[in-house]
Symmetry: D2
Subunit: 365 residues, 4 copies
């Protein structure tokens, strides 16, 4: 990423030639644990020894080999786009990190020169390649990433948390896409990113954070993340409960994390006039909206959110973590060996987990 | 609106006790021309002698007594929410205008103290009453309005144009809800507000303004408003033509003025990543959207727009008019006597008009 | 502020014809306690029975009859621009508050129609008249104010705190004029508004709040407001200490509350590149700046701050108070009878007080 | 800038080993024309054959070897930070430009990983190295630059104009740091960047552009750039003339391009309340300000501006050029052979030039 003409390759250890990896090996459901070559750090890259990695819903989609995966993924590829590692080798021209440092990875590898990139919208770069999806990722022992994608882990952050800064960044991006300080914030959907968003909104100064879901298990996690109120929408009316909790004001902002049509409609209806809804959750299919009543007459602003602002989001998250006011640990329900990946997939599929963090081969749990 | 304790009522002329007005007289289609009392200026109000008034699609809805009208309008009420008049009387506490001045009216009468108003979002005031809809309007000879709603017409603006600053403000609000300078701006729908938006975007520094409609008549008006390109979506593919005209970049912003689902989908698809779509056109019913593809993955921002920012929008419009770079006259296709209102409604219904301006009884055409 | 044509004057109690007041009686130092007429609520006004009032540095300036006062104040005038009262009478057209409600007063009475007001910049209205400076204020038993200037006190807020929402609003305005969530915020100057700003920045989600002053007394109050670090600039180097506390990052924002040239220079120097400094403190005279080094090469944004955004600031403060995360009580060091105003002035002059709140005649302390 | 592991070095021509260059050869006034080695494109770089280059005031400072130069420049270095060239060689990993394309250069070479860079504030990167100041620049025949710094010249832009996109970007950055559409914009100082700013503000939709200077020569150029009004501050009172031209409103924004204390004070005084002043001109020494009157009580925002937003500014400029509404040619008063650099320096020193563009050896004038 720098233009320094010369930089010597620093090799800090003698490494094996191959390593184990969780690989999407073929165009079919499932994954394989395979022996793959250990990569090297090319120009502008760093090589990381993976310490921990997070499992994401996207991994589940790829495991399932659903339609989206079929259109996007080109096997074989090593999965894993959420991970933290120790820098073990610097490619040519890299000087802002040093071997031994712990870094978490931004998973989007961008082109820096498309119209989006030129407008500081790298998160919607037209040529994005994603680690663990389009490029080999972190469900393995070593991974090479562009040095600019390496974010030094702030001091005091536990390894498990450092592993999941990427998805936490999704939540930061969503939350910070509108005002937070002093606001009533709704979080619809309490999967891992929704859970992170609860903690983030609180740490960032929201007055009240109101979380909703249909799962008692996830709502309990929302409580542990210190939501000011939780709404079980399988039993309670969201709009009425929000009115009650906010003493009639409604929500200043909604962070939509579920992709559920009704959650979005309820969120819009509960917004005060002029509020904003930030939309990260992916609906499984198109759905309709009463545009006039829910959006136009209310003067609502709606933000489509993907990825992380590169790298404001990371800096914001870094600062929240340093403040000591954001504790992500309650959202992590399982830490397990990486070779138990299939088991992790099962837990997610059954809704019996918050965030799951994997420990690679050779790393102590 | 001021707190001056004393202010004498200034009567500048001897007026008749009654006047003619276009009145929604009963809960049924049509209007009546009636003799009604001449109002007086209450505290904080001004009385205007109407000089010109614009006909709006909303007037057509009320004429038709459609479902929206049935739920909102309480006859009898004098219609007309777009008008310019001469100040002829000042209510108590009014001192920022003087009799003889020409003023155009903001039609939203707001409460100033609801949550929206307290956040400078008066355009979505929870207690809005609209002149010509909820309160007596300007399709008559005299009308009393809150003094704060009176905007002095900038010098040199023709009466016909001064009559339609309110709907032009809708277009300004829509256009100015995102970046314009140096931007490729699409305007989907070339009814009067779309036509205004073309002129506004150009005067405000857009690089290219691309307008679309299905009507050859309206597209011709779009050309006269100096659109850089027009697209007849009954014959041409919007997305492809935009790509061509913008040399592959796409649109930085879309001003959606049609309420048409396909126009909105095309607009979103033609946006560059990170662009914005501002939504003023009212769909006739809910419709669906491929949220993932059109909004979320593109990182789009969508603004629901209603009314005018009170009063930034008016100040922006005032400045555009003073610059001499905004000429609204090509959008005005008819100027006719107010008593020919039914004829004006017919022209609008048949799509044979741009903006129609009415001349009240006793005013020279 | 509304246009309701009719509203009956509601008189909720039988009141005396005169009352005691702290009056700037003549063009000379000092004030007088005088018997003055009880005002009535004019159209669009409310009459308040004063419950508590805050003493401000401005009151000290007026007491001293300094150059600013000589140019601005026209005796006789009742002082007091920070106060809370009970609504006891509604003027014509007022319906958003009801007798018996507790309201705190915005002190700026604005014209609503100058260029600033028309751009939602009422805090810099060109025709501002200030309660207690240009118009009779709240250091007395009853005061009439424009109804729109009355802000309902959120539930649970102690009277002493409700009295000082106006100056707290200055701090909210300053703090909210740039990003706060996750930011390192410096507060230079720990007079009352600086103290409020500390609490506000924390409640609004700042990561670290670093406060500075030269007075050990005020720094102790800063600690009680939960500043993350305090710097005694009579003994310590501001720039070095900030560097240390922020681990080299510097400040994302500075809230300048002292008017001291060195504080401003230090604040600018401690800003990270691209940071912002919001300037509320009033320097006693012009001073110079190394513009290139401190502002231009750093890409700094500087905000001149006066008054409160009308009324976003009040809404933000209201929400912070409702969150329970903002406790202003440690900043209030004295609550005393209003007739001891001269004593309060003495305490402020000698720097032996934080905020002083006065209790009017007839109100229980 | 990309992570492509392999990319072959493309050599499109057989080049000489050395070339002529204007070199700051020693720590003393003046420059030398020297024979220097032709560079190669390193990884992530492109090699350009220089077609045209602009002379900047900074070059004059370096020629003079003033105090700033002494502290910054480390001879020998080839000067020239404004230039356009043809791509003749691609370094490893470069794929967004192709040999033969014409590109203009961003002169700031940034680190991409400091706090500023991580917040999309690359223009104030803490580790900026500038082409032609810290690194070899474009006053020569060939120059190697980071590929990400290469901006494809939009079609139809004359070579002379393509040479000066970098300083024009300074003007775009300044202008776009606040609202422009419909605004009254003052430009204080009509050197080249001020001249560009006039054209930019107009193309971007300003209602009125009012330019000031003390030089009749530069004011004539301002007129040719289509300033709506010019003020000769050696003869006229800026504040009064602005009042007159803007019919009492004042300026919505000031683009300060002179570094002159009086220009800045006049600019601030002429701002309407709540306006903004963007400060690009570098004062020669610290100067004082009546902060209260000029900044705080007016609620002014002041932006320190340096460099160009990387790369929003370039995209904005690109779009303005493509619109056909920005013609920079009137600002270019001289095009001359590069070896006449000393003569160009003389013209600038004597104030007898607008922008001067140089033609390298071997390029046809």
């Amino acid at each position: 990423m720098t233009t320094t003409a010369t930089a010597e390759k620093v090799r800090t250890s003698t490494r094996a030639r191959t390593m184990r990896a969780i690989v999407k090996a073929s165009a079919a459901p499932g994954v394989e644990i395979r022996e793959v070559p250990v990569p090297a750090a090319g120009p502008g890259e760093v090589l990381l020894k993976v310490k921990r990695a997070g499992v994401c819903g996207t991994d589940l989609h790829i495991w399932n080999w659903d339609r989206w995966s079929q259109g996007r993924v080109r096997p074989p590829v090593t999965l894993g786009h959420e991970f933290v590692g120790e820098v073990v080798e610097l490619g040519e021209g890299v000087d802002h990190v040093t071997p031994g440092e712990l870094v978490s990875a931004e998973s989007h590898v961008i082109c820096h020169t498309c119209t989006a990139c030129r407008n500081n919208l790298g998160h919607v770069c037209e040529n994005t390649r994603i680690l663990g999806v389009d490029l080999n990722g972190g469900f393995t022992e070593y991974v090479a990433i562009p040095a600019v994608n390496a974010w030094r882990v702030p001091p005091g952050v536990p390894l498990e948390v450092a592993a999941i800064l990427e998805p936490t960044g999704n939540a930061v991006h969503t939350a910070f896409s509108g005002p937070l300080s002093g606001c009533n914030i709704g979080v619809t959907g309490c999967g891992p990113i929704g859970l992170f968003a609860i903690g983030i909104a609180r740490a960032a100064g929201a007055s009240r954070v109101i979380a909703s879901d249909v799962s008692a298990y996830r709502l309990e996690l929302a409580r542990r993340m210190h939501a000011d109120a939780v709404i079980d929408v399988s039993k309670e009316n969201f709009v009425e409960r929000v009115k009650e909790v906010t003493h009639g004001r409604g929500l200043d902002g909604v962070l939509e994390m579920s992709g559920n049509p009704q959650a979005m409609r309820d969120g819009l209806q509960s917004l005060r006039n002029g509020g904003r809804l930030s939309l990260l959750g992916l609906p499984t299919e198109p759905f309709d909206l009463d545009w006039n009543r829910l959006l136009i007459f209310k003067g609502v602003t709606l933000h489509g959110i993907v990825g992380r602002r590169m790298y404001e989001t990371w800096d914001q998250l870094d600062q929240l973590l340093r403040s000591g006011r954001l504790d992500l640990r309650p959202s992590i329900t399982h830490v397990m060996a990486m070779e138990r990946f299939d088991e992790a997939v099962g837990l997610l599929r059954e809704g019996r987990a918050g965030k799951i963090v994997l420990v690679p081969w050779g790393e102590a749990e």
